[in-house]
Amino acid sequence: MSGEFLLAAYIFFLAAFVGFEMISKVPTTLHTPLMSGTNAIHGIVIVGAMLVAGSADSPLRSVIGFLAVIFGAINVVGGFAVTDRMLQMFKKKAPPPKEKHAN
């Protein structure tokens, strides 16, 4: 049990390090989409919610699990969709006509 906890602690600190290192240089234009994108990623809690809801052994835990799955799904679907909408503005302008008029 404590070995498992230790392993979890290892993973936690390594992941924290990766998280810090990744975001050292981000243009301000991307702050909101990045926030929104990572917001969708923590929707991974839906996996935990599914496990809890699927193994519920009492009515109360069923209700809690059911709510958790709904909340998680809103986080995941809404999060990724809204981020994609934000990022469309980058796609629209990205391909400028390279071989353009000669004037």
């Binding site: 906890f5 234009t29 909101t32 989409p33 996996v47 496990l51 059911f66 799955v69 799904a73």
Partner: protein, 469 residues
């Protein structure tokens, strides 16, 4: 807590999903790859959800499938119905849902283990901390949503009652937590604990002004990540630990970046309402008016702003002549045109120190004459301009000439660059221009300053622009 699986198929897929999340976040931090990064992360999520369905712990699928269906419909409706300008509110809602889900997962585990007792101290502590953070982000995000949506007052509040309530709820949480940890895993006290945490989230966010909400949402976002990571501890689920921690760590750093871009400290954002009113670092101009704060822009940010514009108007001024940077301007303009961006020069009749000063200067750098546009012609175009690049010009773009009757330059015709979507000002320092008066354009929220020698700045900007892919 789950035991080991005979063949770790699920675990391997979780590992792949975690790696894809890392790649996704990495790609999200660069404009050219951001959209694919988001899609990558979304596919990783789908993968993780599907493989979780094969977990043997799951006994009944009814609640799961119904929950996913309901949540997906609500999430998609919200995401696609929301107006582009209301995006931050949407993010707040989604973030709150994540925090709520994490708190519920921890609550469920607590109830489960409270019934069977035999819970390690650290596991119980993790559940309480996770529930606390999850509840705070849930209610805090909803308050942030309410403020941005105009349902609650967006004003910063310095009401001392809020301070007292914050202290009370915090004490309440600590006291109850200690009581539960000391061998009383009573569901009633746990519910009380969670309720206190929910109220704590409300009183923490209510005092913060609406303009600071994006920073608050970013902070709450990283808290939710932490809460999810703790849920991962509780469930011994490494995917939750990795993903939650990634979001928690990157979110913390992103919050700091956002504060820096606003020229504020996080402490000032969170607790700034207690004490002074909002804009504190405003400067008093020559005419005695306070205008807000100056915001810097980095070379890379300026390059990206330019790279994704459709049309750019360059306003040259005396500073350009002083720095002898006409060739560098031309190079920047060439780099912009190569990307298909429409570039024009706005020539104010008195820009520089003599009429036609700018025309001569730019002609020397072989700037095509057709690109030089007179003030009367360019002014109607400026409201449709994406980015205006002001290079060493000051008085000729000072809105005070239009608005402020007390200003010495009142009535002088100016280039209306403050009507453009974004303004980048290249300037040596904050010294006022020829007329010796403050320029409120520099304090405009859509203006960002790039300090330094014009020649050097333009060179670096061109290099940075070419590096944007």
């Amino acid at each position: 807590m789950p035991t080991s699986h005979p063949f770790p198929f699920i675990q391997l897929v979780y590992l792949a999903a975690a790696l894809l999340f890392i790649l996704g976040i990495k790609r999200l931090s660069s404009p050219a790859t951001a959209r694919s990064g988001n899609q990558l992360a979304a596919s990783a999520m789908l993968l993780a959800i599907i493989v979780t369905l094969t977990d043997k712990q799951i006994l009944s699928y009814n609640l799961i499938l119904a929950g996913i269906a309901i949540g997906s419909v609500i999430g998609a409706l919200l995401a696609y119905r929301v107006k582009m300008t209301d995006m931050p509110q949407a993010v707040a809602i989604f973030n709150g849902m994540g925090g709520g889900a994490a708190a519920l997962v921890e609550a469920s585990e607590f109830l489960h283990h409270a019934a069977t007792h035999g819970l390690a101290f650290y596991a119980e502590l993790a559940m309480l901390v996770g529930t606390l953070i999850g509840c705070v982000t849930f209610s805090g995000s909803l308050v942030a949503f309410g403020k941005l949506q105009g349902l609650l007052s967006a004003r910063a509040s310095a009401n001392p009652l809020l301070k007292i309530l914050t202290a009370l709820f915090l004490l309440d949480c600590f006291g109850l937590g200690a009581y539960i940890l000391s061998g009383n895993p009573d569901p009633i006290f746990f519910a009380w604990f969670a309720a206190s945490a929910l109220f704590l989230g409300i009183v923490l966010v209510v005092p913060i002004g609406g303009a600071d909400m994006p920073v608050v949402i970013s902070l709450l976002n990283s808290y939710t990540g932490l809460s999810v990571a703790i849920a991962g501890f509780v469930l011994s689920n490494y995917l939750l630990i990795i993903s939650g921690t990634l979001v928690g760590a990157s979110g913390t750093l992103l919050t700091q970046l956002m504060c820096k871009a606003m020229n504020r400290s996080l402490i000032n954002v969170l607790f700034g309402a207690f004490g002074a009113s909002a804009q504190t670092d405003g400067k008093t101009g020559g005419d005695g008016s306070v205008k807000g704060s100056i915001r810097d822009i980095s070379m890379d940010d300026a390059a990206i702003l330019l790279a994704y514009a459709q049309n750019v108007v360059i306003v040259p001024g005396y500073g350009l002549a002083v720095a002898q940077a006409q060739h560098q301007v031309r190079q920047l303009a060439d780099a912009l045109e190569k990307r298909g961006i429409d570039v024009k020069y706005a020539i104010h009749p008195v820009a520089g120190r003599m009429p036609g000063h700018m025309n001569v200067l730019l002609a020397e750098a072989n700037v095509p004459y057709s690109q030089l546009v007179e003030m009367e012609e360019i002014n109607p175009e400026l409201p449709r301009t994406d980015v205006v690049l002001v290079i060493g010009a000051n008085d000729v773009v000072n809105p005070a000439a239009r608005a402020s009757k007390s200003s010495p330059i009142y009535g002088m015709p100016i280039l209306d660059v403050d009507k453009a979507a974004k303004v980048i000002v290249l300037k040596r320092s904050m010294n006022p221009g020829f007329a010796g008066i403050e320029n409120e354009l520099f304090y405009d929220p859509k203006t960002q300053m790039l300090f330094g020698d014009a020649r050097e700045s333009l060179q670096k900007l061109t290099t940075a622009l070419r590096a944007v892919d």
